[in-house]
């Protein structure tokens, strides 16, 4: 009975988190919408419920509404509709409480290049009211965390893009916030710098910090996140764990290259693959410039059978590759971006939801 009472209470009373000092959700956004003054509906309906300690990835193409959403979560933009609670504080009623309890790293690197690395972190410590006695140690720890200890007293002006980003990360963490927002933190960085940042983000998350990360890099979300929300056109198109999302592609991906990919041979190969034991109701065959791509739950175990069939038909295979679906496959399948939708064979829906688009390849 008391459970029912509690649930009832939670519905009646918006200040749920005041009753329980440790709210279940680090971020609780309900039906967020934001329309700019010029009528642009940047965000139409976004709801998020992110538990404490989760590494959440917010994935979307340019202009999908990622930055607008994150700015609503960190009190920089007031939602046109909907409500947000971060760490139990309402962004509209208690913006200062929210600001105290979050770290935010903007898409554009935000540091004072006239100051040294140490001075940048010190300013952040002071701005967030880190007690005087803890500052020096905290500054050293953070500069250590982002590998800038050896250049701590150099001016940030001379830092590389990656170093500036890392310094920006450090300044967002001075007050040990339970939630950290990272808006496309690795955009424009080389792979090495990006990999290093990923390590820091994992370390931050390992310390129990909830991380909300936006990215257009699918690999990044796959590498880091426990759960992903894909935003398209101002709404969350799909969400789930990387594994769940990958399973929506319908299996592993088998890529075959023909020695002489004439239209006729590619079409023959497609027909053979479509008739093979590989392809059941939930599989798809696509043609490419070089050959064919088969998505199948048995691509690994039965892939060689297809090779044999193709050889028997007189087709020479020069390339053969089986891989797990990447988030790229998932993202493109769901959002349809960058996909050539001229022909049935490359219809985006075919890979995203084979059951609903059976005509694409059968």
């Amino acid at each position: 009975m008391w459970v029912a009472t509690l649930i009832e209470y939670s519905f009646k009373n918006a200040k749920w988190s005041d009753v329980f000092p440790s709210p279940v959700s680090a971020i609780d956004a309900r039906h967020l919408a934001l329309t700019y003054a010029d009528g642009t509906e940047a965000v139409e309906d976004v709801s998020l419920d992110i538990p404490e300690g989760e590494f959440f990835g917010f994935l979307g193409a340019n202009g999908a509404g990622k930055t607008t959403t994150i700015k609503m979560l960190v009190t920089l933009l007031r939602p046109t509709e909907g409500s947000v609670r971060v760490n139990g504080y309402d962004v509209a009623d208690a913006p200062r409480r929210v600001r105290e309890s979050i770290g935010y790293m903007a898409q554009e690197t935000s540091i004072d290049t006239e100051l040294t690395a140490r001075e940048n972190v010190r300013f952040a410590c002071e701005a967030y009211g880190v007690p005087r006695g803890e500052r020096a140690g905290r500054i050293d720890d953070l500069l250590d965390l982002v590998d800038l200890a050896d250049v701590a007293d150099k001016r940030a002006k001379d830092f590389s893009g990656g170093m500036k980003k890392r310094l920006d990360v450090a300044t967002a963490l001075v007050h040990e916030p339970p939630v950290v927002f990272l808006d496309e933190p690795t955009t424009g960085l080389d792979p090495k710098a990006r990999n290093r940042l990923w390590d820091y983000f994992r370390r931050i998350n390992d310390r129990g910090t909830t991380v909300f990360l936006t990215t257009q890099y699918l690999e990044e979300a796959d590498q880091l996140c426990e759960r992903i929300g894909v935003i398209k056109g101002g709404e969350i198109a799909v969400s789930g764990s990387p594994a769940e999302l990958k399973s929506r592609v319908g299996g592993d991906v088998l890529e075959l290259e023909l020695d002489d990919p004439t239209d006729r041979d590619v079409e023959r190969a497609r027909a053979i693959a479509a008739d093979s034991a590989l392809v059941d109701d939930a599989a798809a065959v696509e043609t490419t410039d070089d050959g064919i791509v088969v998505t199948s739950s048995v691509a690994r175990s039965r892939g060689t059978d297809l090779l044999v069939s193709l050889r028997d038909a007189g087709l020479t295979i020069t390339g053969f590759n089986v891989r797990s679906p990447t988030l790229d496959d998932v993202f493109l399948a769901i959002t349809g971006e960058e996909y050539d939708v001229d022909g049935d064979d490359t219809d985006a829906d075919a890979t995203a939801d084979p059951e609903r688009a059976p005509g694409a390849s059968r």
Binding site: Y89, P95, R96, R99, I111, D112, E114, E126, H175, E176
Partner: protein, 308 residues
């Protein structure tokens, strides 16, 4: 902004419930934190600091050396025949220094907007008023130091020119010298507000720099800076009598000579120096409030979370 402040105050009252997190500072601490950052930035740029002072000092030297010999007649009527042109010019240069400092205020704001530090402050728990107060105080401090340097430099120049026979210099003594600094600060507010308005409207460093710099020389020359109003040609005199610089310079000059030098409006009610100071400061304070209100409006707009 005001609604936000109220609601935050409301929440602060109920902190008994809230979790133990790093908490923000009081208003004064926030002001100090920002003042420190801007002082550090100023100190990091000794060249900017030197050259912004060098320009007015060069004016002082060039004008006094080139025109010093022929201006006696023109300034005699206004401040007395035995007055050296250097003494006449130093108050104008003090105001010029304030003008230059005010110019850089907007440029600093644009830099912060462009570097993301502006947004960083907005997303921090710092009091927003304190963020801007701290920055402004660093500019005031700069004016204090630079005006003191101008006054000292002017005296040295005068001493060298006259072989130690300087005549009256800051006739009102130490309170007068402090007064000149205060006039410089009061004068700087409206132009600081103006350069910040340009920064918030253009959000671009070059545009801000251009729009405030282009005004600097016309404002300076079409004023009582180099010659008294009555010796200026017709239309220049009209512009000069409407130019805020004239009021700033007249106020500083009154303190320099210890007498009423205001020629735009004849006020006799207060006696001596005050006949210049009261109307001049009244004009400047009015301007400060008007420009300040517009700047606050734009600042509130720029810091609001309202979608635009």
């Amino acid at each position: 902004m005001s609604a936000e402040t109220e609601s935050d105050a409301g929440t602060a009252a109920g902190t008994g419930n809230s979790r133990a997190e790093a908490s923000g500072n009081g208003f004064l601490t926030d002001t100090w934190v920002n003042l420190k950052r801007w002082m550090l930035k100023t100190a990091r740029n000794p060249f900017v600091l030197t050259f912004s002072l060098l320009n007015p000092l060069m004016f002082l030297v060039l004008f006094t050396e080139v025109f010093g010999g022929v201006t006696g007649g023109a300034i005699g009527g206004s401040v007395g025949a035995d007055v050296n042109y250097t003494t006449y010019l130093v108050p104008a240069i003090a105001i010029q220094v304030s003008l230059v400092s005010a110019t850089t205020s907007g440029i600093g704001l644009v830099e912060d907007i462009e570097s993301g530090m502006f947004e960083k402050a907005l997303v921090s728990p710092m009091h927003r008023g304190a963020v801007f107060l701290g920055k402004s105080l660093s500019e005031v401090l700069r004016i204090v130091v630079q005006v003191c340097i101008v006054l000292t430099f002017g005296y040295v120049l005068l001493w060298l020119d006259t072989g130690g026979n300087t005549g009256p210099y800051v006739a009102t003594g130490l309170p007068g010298a402090v007064g000149i600094v205060v006039v410089g600060i009061v004068f700087s507010v409206w132009f600081t507000a103006f350069s910040n308005i340009m920064a918030l409207v253009t959000r671009d460093q070059e545009s801000t720099m251009l729009s405030v710099n282009i005004l600097q020389f016309p404002l300076l020359f079409l004023s009582s800076a180099f010659l008294p109003l009555e010796s200026l040609p017709g239309w220049v005199r009209v512009v000069a009598s409407l130019n805020p610089i004239t009021y700033g310079i007249d106020a500083a000059r009154a303190l320099m000579f210890g007498r009423d030098v205001m020629s735009v409006v004849e006020v006799t009610a207060f006696g001596g120096v005050w006949n210049t100071l009261v109307p001049a400061l009244a004009v400047l304070v009015t301007l400060d409030i008007a420009f300040g209100a517009v700047a606050v409006y734009y600042m509130a707009r720029a810091t609001s979370a309202e979608a635009r």
